[in-house]
């Protein structure tokens, strides 16, 4: 990670051929359409050209969290959410801040129910 400053709570996806979608590098845009970089990952937009996702990564509080995607159940979908707050009329007025970050994945069980494996940081 030396020499690279990742946006707080940003994510990165690596694909089978080594191609990487990086939220910081993309300024959280979706190079394939509307929304943000996570939307591109959720839509599997890069997989046609670059193969399946092999790693899903979160950068948060100077730490890196990796999920090797081959270790997740078949059909798993990435999860990254941010719980945000913004004060108005106070000392931090108008500045949004991250209160919690959720990182992990979800998948469907054989009975169709949803299972989430999420760590809230």
């Amino acid at each position: 990670m030396s020499g690279v400053i990742y946006n707080e709570a940003s994510i990165q996806a690596e694909y089978a051929d080594g191609f990487i979608l990086d939220e910081t590098e993309l300024n959280d845009s979706n190079p394939y359409g509307e929304g943000n970089t996570l939307r591109a990952i959720l839509d599997k937009s890069a997989e046609t050209e670059h193969g399946q996702m092999v790693r899903f990564t979160l950068f948060y509080k100077n730490l890196r969290y990796d999920i090797p995607w081959e270790d997740t159940p078949e059909g798993s979908r990435p999860i990254r959410y941010k719980k945000m707050e913004m004060d108005y009329n106070g000392p931090l007025s108008g500045i949004s801040r991250i209160m919690k970050v959720g990182f992990g994945y979800q998948y469907n069980l054989p009975d169709g129910s949803n299972k989430q494996e999420v760590q809230e940081l």
Binding site: N7, D28, G35, T37, K83, N89, G94, S96, M99
Partner: protein, 168 residues
Amino acid sequence: MASTQTISEGNGASAGTETASRTECNFKRIDDSTTAYTSSPINSSNNENSMTKYQLLKFGGTWSSLSALTIKIDNNAPATGLSIVGSVVTSGTTPATTASGDPAMSTTGATANFTSSSFGYAAGTSTSTASGTMYTNAVRLQLQTTSAYAGGPGDIVSRTITWSWTES
């Protein structure tokens, strides 16, 4: 980029005229976004109320989804004789100084929805996956005073309003 947030205020008939990028929520006796509150003070000796104030959150930037939106105030009874009332609303009425009928503004978090890419009032939905621009329900606030307020002329203690949401 993630999402960005600004505050818009609704004034005039049906609180339908938008002033974007507001940086304060000062209570006063006139319905506009320009007059300084010091030029339109509220007289507690006369048991006066402020004009009701409609403000809402406007999202820009990029996101995959927005959800779990709430709004609260840190203290809705800042002093004897002072009450800050408020509620999340789905329609706008012309601001007035008559009592709004709203309860004490929530200090724990009142639920609000995401409405539209245009300024206005609507029921909205609890989750938005649309990108670009998204407005929320408005919060209608009012400062109500009585002659029991012992503070002299001048500012009351500032209170903090907090918007909370989840984005992915």
